[in-house]
């Protein structure tokens, strides 16, 4: 190519029908190289742009989580609020999480949970209570005998799990705090600390995450404060050290890593209801009849299954909680 001959005698080239052999071989090797480079470049580039290896693949969640796969719930009779549906394995319930404080990808929480330090941890209790105080998490959970609750959990995105929580009823805590007559709602605030929650460095949501319940909802025996999962201490990605579980509502109501509980007279301004009021209401009761603007809520995928199943009103807890909403238009108060 660099030989001056080639350039000068351009017109003569077509006459030689077959180029000299070494040239052909060099040309072939060159083409093969370019072919390979292009395949690798385009294929690799597309993979980099679009591939999001799913959480739950080996290695995610660390060795500790792997070992926990072998963990089985102790044999015990089902409690009055337990479902007997198949429990979602630890590996999946701890690697497929929505916890935007760590990041918007479902794999982010498991990947980054080590940055959250659940001890020491204090919870501030204030507002319309006779016993405002700031209490250490270990003290707080020592107030109550811990119990198991096997609950269905339905995410607003259309997937669901069965979670074996460990904790205590929220009602027991509320009663211990002695609400004043003005208390109508309970507001929960999650930790705000971008050092521990890398996802809080961006303004994806208005941090800190705030959730809330009406007082009668909070006092319902199903409403639960979890400090454990699968009989183990709650992992960071699942909301350590203290999270709310309200099984008849969409999962986003179950605020994680709680640092403050405030009893209020006014309905709390909750994070998702502020971010997208047309999509995520304050009540967020699981309701197959009220679709999300972008998808139907009539069906859901149980994690671990390929097909979909019908979503039940109040996530299957209608018998227990429907009475809380008697007389309310749940299309309006979604």
């Amino acid at each position: 190519m660099s030989s001056p001959n080639d350039q000068r005698s351009g017109a003569e080239v077509p006459e030689t029908t077959t180029p000299p052999a070494p040239n052909t071989r060099r040309e072939f090797i060159r083409s093969a190289g370019l072919f390979t480079a292009t395949v690798a470049g385009l294929g690799g580039g597309l993979e980099l742009l679009t591939r999001r290896p799913g959480a739950g693949s080996p290695g995610v969640g660390g060795a500790e989580a792997q070992g926990a796969d072998a963990f089985t719930l102790p044999n015990r009779p089902l409690g009055p609020y337990d479902t007997n549906e198949k429990v979602t394995p630890w590996a999946q319930s701890t690697t497929y999480n929505n916890f935007y404080e760590f990041g918007t990808d479902k794999g982010d929480p498991a990947r980054l949970a080590a940055s959250l330090k659940p001890r020491p941890w204090t919870v501030k209790i204030d507002g319309e209570v006779r016993k405002p105080q700031t209490v250490d998490i270990d003290t707080l959970q020592s107030w109550f005998p811990l119990e198991d609750r096997i609950y269905r959990m339905r995410c607003v995105e259309g997937w669901s799990m069965v979670m074996p929580w460990l904790g205590f009823p929220l009602g027991a805590l509320i009663r211990r705090l002695e609400p004043t007559g003005k208390a109508k709602y309970v507001q929960f605030t999650a930790l705000y600390d971008p050092k521990q929650f890398p996802g809080q460095r961006g303004r994806v949501l208005d941090w800190p995450y705030v959730e809330g319940l009406r007082l009668d909802e909070a006092l319902h025996p199903l409403a639960f404060m979890a400090v454990g999962l699968h009989g183990r201490v709650l992992p960071g990605q699942n909301g350590a050290p203290l999270r709310l579980v309200v099984p008849w509502k969409y999962g986003f109501k179950g605020i994680k890593s709680i640092v403050r509980i405030t009893l209020t007279a006014e309905q709390p301004k909750t994070t998702w209801a502020l971010a997208a009021p047309d999509e995520y209401g304050f009540y967020a009761n699981v309701n197959p009849a009220v679709p999300h603007p972008r998808w139907s809520q009539a069906t859901e995928r149980r994690i671990g299954e390929l097909g979909r199943r019908k979503t039940l009103p109040f996530n299957g807890y209608a018998e227990q909680v429907a009475g809380l909403y008697r007389g309310m238009d749940l299309r309006k108060f979604y």
Partner: protein, 235 residues
């Protein structure tokens, strides 16, 4: 299948005084194979469980992103060719983007169909549920329409179809790609619950590509009639 067009078009420059030592014969096969790599990886991921706890959702997301990425790449070919012609001293610029445009477009369509099939599978192939989604949810309507718009483009992607339609009409038909990519970006934007940065980045790239086309449409063709023909290329 890409070969006839490629070789036919190559014949012209070869006959010109400057013989090209690079036949570029490897290019279209390489783009085809490279574009199929993610499909192979996706199948391997699905079989090995690497798609995670909700594999259907993962596969839907990835095929959607691939559709959009390849669609954007195919739409980048013409602006790349125009820009390279403007920037090169000889004014000739690259010819290779034009040669891979069809392959990229067909790959985009293929991934779009796959994306749609996974969505259908997710809904148990119940057409009533799908129809309800398409009618009632703008998010789905946009994506579905984008895919429908790509169907005639895929069907007329052969050289024979260009001849049959005539170049001007074929070009006009293929401007549907602008609508398809715009709807695709909208579908992506509406599909994201929070953090709209990625769809906005794609929207900015698409807007930049449209802008290049718009600004460079005159030098796009040689000859006066070409100027008129290139008018409607602007979205």
């Amino acid at each position: 299948m890409e070969r006839p067009a490629g070789t036919a078009r190559r014949a012209a420059p070869a006959a010109q005084p400057r013989p090209v030592a690079r036949p570029l014969g490897w290019l279209v096969p390489a783009v085809t194979v490279g574009g199929l790599v993610p499909a192979v990886v996706l199948v391997m991921d699905a079989l090995s469980g690497a798609l995670g706890a909700n594999p259907i959702q993962r596969a839907t997301l990835q095929t959607g992103l691939l559709t959009l990425a390849l669609l954007v790449l195919s739409l980048a070919c013409t602006p790349a060719r125009l820009l390279s012609a403007r920037l090169s001293p000889s004014g000739r610029g690259w010819t290779w983007p034009a040669r891979i445009r069809r392959t990229l477009g067909l790959l985009a369509f293929g991934y779009g169909v796959l994306h749609f099939l996974i969505y259908l599978f997710d809904h148990g192939f119940t057409l009533s549920a799908m129809a309800e989604d398409v009618v009632k949810r703008p998010f789905v309507t946009a994506g579905f329409t984008a895919l429908l718009l790509l169907v005639p483009l895929a069907l007329t992607s052969t050289s024979a179809a260009v001849k049959r339609l005539g170049f001007a009409r074929w070009t006009r038909l293929h401007q549907l790609a602008y609508a398809a990519v715009s709807l695709g970006v909208l579908h992506y934007y509406w599909g994201v619950k929070k953090d709209h940065t990625p769809p906005l980045v794609v929207a900015a790239i698409v807007a930049a590509l449209f802008l290049v086309r718009y600004l460079m449409r005159k030098p796009a063709r040689t000859g006066r009639q070409g100027r008129r023909a290139s008018g409607p290329t602007t979205p």
